[in-house]
Symmetry: C2
Subunit: 550 residues, 2 copies
């Protein structure tokens, strides 16, 4: 038997295009004399469809795609993810299902049992968990079908769940395990995925075909990396990351324990390289799927806007990125010279629009109202907001999208101006700590100096008042980022973090800054997620609250 994995990049709710992609993959599989083609979880509508699932019309359109695919299954088995209506009156309205299509019709529908409802996942919001488990029979083989999370409780070792779907289905002695996934990237995820896949094979001693989707859905980035493991737990093939891939495998080869030249084709790259590639994917798909192509941003010569410029250029091409330099009276000379050098290195056109005259006009306009009140944060925020207004005017007039350059350290402690530097259609670096930003910059410069070295070496500054440095108001990033990581990613409280050896006062100060900035983060653009715990839908905090605020 030949089996095809179809690792595709779907657009949510774009039924026509998703269907055409799947039909093309089926044709390719048929050319390769495949007997079974596997698509990913909720492939017909793209994952995650979120509350679109609450619309009957949306479910009907999903069903129409399934029915069209069924018609294409005359000579090939098809496994495809789609929602199913729950026929029982009680319970959630839908199941998250795998459809087995063959000989022109729906042969069997199997449902997902483990519904992730944590971090960015809301599956129990929509779906009833499966209570029955079954296999399919295809071309003489007994095949166990599972969906994504169902595979992540190997031998019931995941404390989150009380049942183990793979154990349940194994009582029917399948010869093969298939998993339809939609499992988003973070920089530790590819390694975890291989580990879980191997643990399944180690337990059940049968080959595994794992099909993931690829491409970004706004902030969630799916890396693909679909897998075939032989019954000994060796990786027979790993599909490339962040691209579509359709490949057909000879099952007898896999059962015989052979290898392909693709086995672990993606070396396990350092986090900086993985994040770099994920961010390119996130930028590309945000633009492609929105039908847009052109990006702008405020380029200050600081490392965040510099890195964002490089990423945007690598993702969209030099013709599609137009930075704007907006010096003020507080801008350093290297702000302009470093930015111009970067644009030169990347082959970018750019504009210089000084803000001083507009700034002065605001000051004189506000003078009758403010009187003799001393300068304070107001004037700093004003500069950031004038820049945002110029950038948005450029976007409106020229049909560009503004990229947001806020990093995770700043977003965490609220070091940014709402409606100023916190503006943009998409947050490129909002899940990347400042210290990681330097890692990625060095990765980009690994063969030649794309990023002017001065951008990496100079002390971070917002340049909103004379001689300002980030370190005037924030702890050093090398310490700050470690405290933030413990609080955000590891969900450790003040006692635990202090017990690790961090200064008592510093920890309380940082945690208070984070909790005080929820109202700002609530209004930021979607942030490309590259870590296990990003700001956005995966971290849901009260805004008006009083916890760790002293």
């Amino acid at each position: 038997m030949r089996i095809t994995l179809a690792q595709l990049n779907y657009q949510i709710g774009n039924f026509e295009e998703n269907q055409q992609k799947m039909l093309d993959a089926i044709n390719k599989a048929l050319e390769q004399k495949s007997d079974l083609i596997i698509f990913s979880e909720l492939a017909v509508c793209g994952y995650p469809p979120r509350d679109f699932l609450e619309f009957n019309d949306f479910i009907e359109q999903c069903m129409a795609v399934v029915n069209t695919l069924a018609l294409a299954s005359t000579n090939i088995g098809i496994l495809v993810g789609a929602p199913t209506r729950n026929p029982n009156i009680e319970g959630k309205d839908l199941y998250n299902s795998a459809y087995y299509l063959y000989e022109g019709k729906i042969q069997k529908i199997l449902h997902k049992a483990l519904l992730p409802t944590y971090d960015v996942f809301d599956e129990y919001r929509y779906f009833e968990p499966a209570k029955d488990f079954d296999i399919i029979h295809h071309k003489g083989y007994k095949i166990a079908i599972t969906i994504c999370e169902d595979m992540w409780n190997v031998g019931n070792n995941n404390p989150m769940y009380t049942i183990c779907p793979t154990d349940e289905v194994m009582v029917q002695h399948p010869q093969l395990l298939i998993n339809l996934s939609a499992s988003p990237f973070h920089y530790k995820h590819a390694a975890e995925r291989i580990e879980v896949a191997k643990a399944n094979v180690a337990r059940y001693k049968i080959p595994l075909f794992y099909c993931n989707q690829t491409g970004a859905q706004t902030e969630l980035i799916f890396d693909g990396g679909s897998l075939v493991l032989n019954a000994l737990g060796a990786v027979y093939d790993e599909m490339p990351f962040f691209v579509e891939c359709v490949r057909t495998y000879q099952l007898t080869d896999i059962l015989a324990g052979l290898y392909t030249e693709h086995a672990l084709g993606e070396e396990y790259k350092e986090p900086a390289a993985m994040i770099y590639e994920a961010l390119l994917c996130g930028i590309k798909d945000y633009f492609n799927k929105s039908g847009l192509s052109k990006a702008t941003l405020g380029l200050s010569g600081g490392i965040d806007s510099v890195l964002t410029t490089v990423l945007a250029t690598h993702a969209l091409g030099a013709d599609n990125v137009h930075p704007i330099l907006m010096p003020s009276q507080y801008s350093s000379e290297h702000s302009i010279s470093d930015s111009e050098l970067l644009c030169h290195n990347l082959g970018l056109q750019y504009s210089i629009i000084p803000i001083k005259e507009i700034y002065d006009k605001y000051i004189t306009t506000l003078l009758p109202t403010f009187g003799e009140k001393a300068e304070d944060l107001t004037e700093e925020n004003l500069q950031a907001r004038i820049r945002a207004n110029i950038l948005m005017a450029y976007c409106n007039k020229m049909r560009y999208i503004l990229l947001n350059t806020t990093n995770k350290s700043e977003a965490a402690v609220g070091y940014g101006t709402l409606y100023g530097d916190m503006c943009g259609g998409l947050g490129i670096l909002g899940d990347v700590y400042k210290t990681q930003i330097y890692d990625i910059a060095r990765y980009i410069n690994r063969t030649n100096e794309i990023i002017p070295i001065n951008c990496i070496h100079k002390a971070p500054s917002a340049e909103l008042r004379p001689g300002q440095k980030d370190s005037d108001s924030l702890p050093e990033y090398s310490v700050l980022d470690k405290v933030l990581y413990q609080y955000i990613e590891m969900r450790q409280g003040p006692k635990e973090i202090i017990a690790m050896g961090f200064d008592d006062k510093l920890v309380h100060r940082v945690l208070k800054m984070v909790n005080s900035a929820e109202h700002k983060r609530h209004q930021t653009p979607p942030i490309l997620r590259v870590s296990p715990k990003a700001f956005g839908s995966g971290r849901r905090m009260p805004i008006v609250a009083k916890y760790l605020m002293t």
Copy 2:
């Protein structure tokens, strides 16, 4: 036996203050010779605590409050909502529990079974559902304890759930049913609550004590309205809406079917009146719980900013509200005159800050970049963003909070400028359709003309170009709002809405506008929720998607 209901307004994570409020209520109950005091769901930390629940430290602080309350239970039973750690390895880490405290210690802990995971609710994200059901014995009475949603599946008539906790617990023949709730307001909710309470009593023929929290938690507004029903299903008492209330009841009176003078003390007001009161509560608590007092907003003389000004003044007092009038070359004369009349009626100080000079400076600054490109939406957005920048500068300098005046109809179709009129700390009207805004304005004017009648009668206009009217680019609000209601609140698709008699093209156009504006709504402030389906955490839509976009 005497029973006390304590309907209190908690602050999320403010353990010290929450504990003190509860201790004060216990003292009051003891003075009234009460035998049992009832607090609401998750009272120790306030509801909803969201991802704070994922921090051990947070759970420990909850437990510390429970233990302190236990020490105060020597002579009075206490029922209080708090999270409990799940002692089993498998399943979610926590239960959503009711603690029964008496004689100085924790006597029993009962868990919630029905965990709302829809709309604004995420309880299965955190909690394992109860599988066992039990009663408590207090002073010779057998009492069934349920938590919020547990009561909302009377006789298993709610299709969302497969078990009925009240049926389960009734096998032990309790003489009394108690419910600890945290049930947020929408304008249909008070009536639904009474109906569900009556259905429970009709089924079980025992009295019901229902304790809700009151006060707003950012966007969620809890109305209180705690209830006592006698065994015949008559409302013995209903507590007032949107205020704290501690009252003690003689159980023998209730068993005898007597009434109090408070029975249905809150007449069922028209929606406009209910929404008006809810919005005042939402504004008050946003400021009080943030430790803030002063609000500003851009007052254009249009009905949205006019109504927001009135609500803010009624909530915070005339001394705490300072509108800013920011005329441009396109502002009508009545923009200023209506606004000044309103401020006069309300006794408000205000500022006038014209934007033309700043606007002109932007235009000349941008001229080298834009060249001879024709005027378009850019210049309209620019005006809105200059106003936002002035308002935010005022907030920063004077320590005010900007109120957002966007209404639900505009928010739905994306008729607003990001970082312009979509700015603010809190969205006051974002869950109120334009047609409802006029209803509330008329309600406010019911006895005397607080709102200048011209504000109600003039045609809506953004006044961003000469002679502009909302109806130039939008359908009439009387039609638009009906289509939006069907799509947003009722989750009807295009086919269903067209079948109701709405024009085919209009429906497709409106739905496309709604789905195209997700990226804008993603960056709006939290919006006070007064309807069953508000923009915000209760409506989770993909941003980059292509559904109903043609």
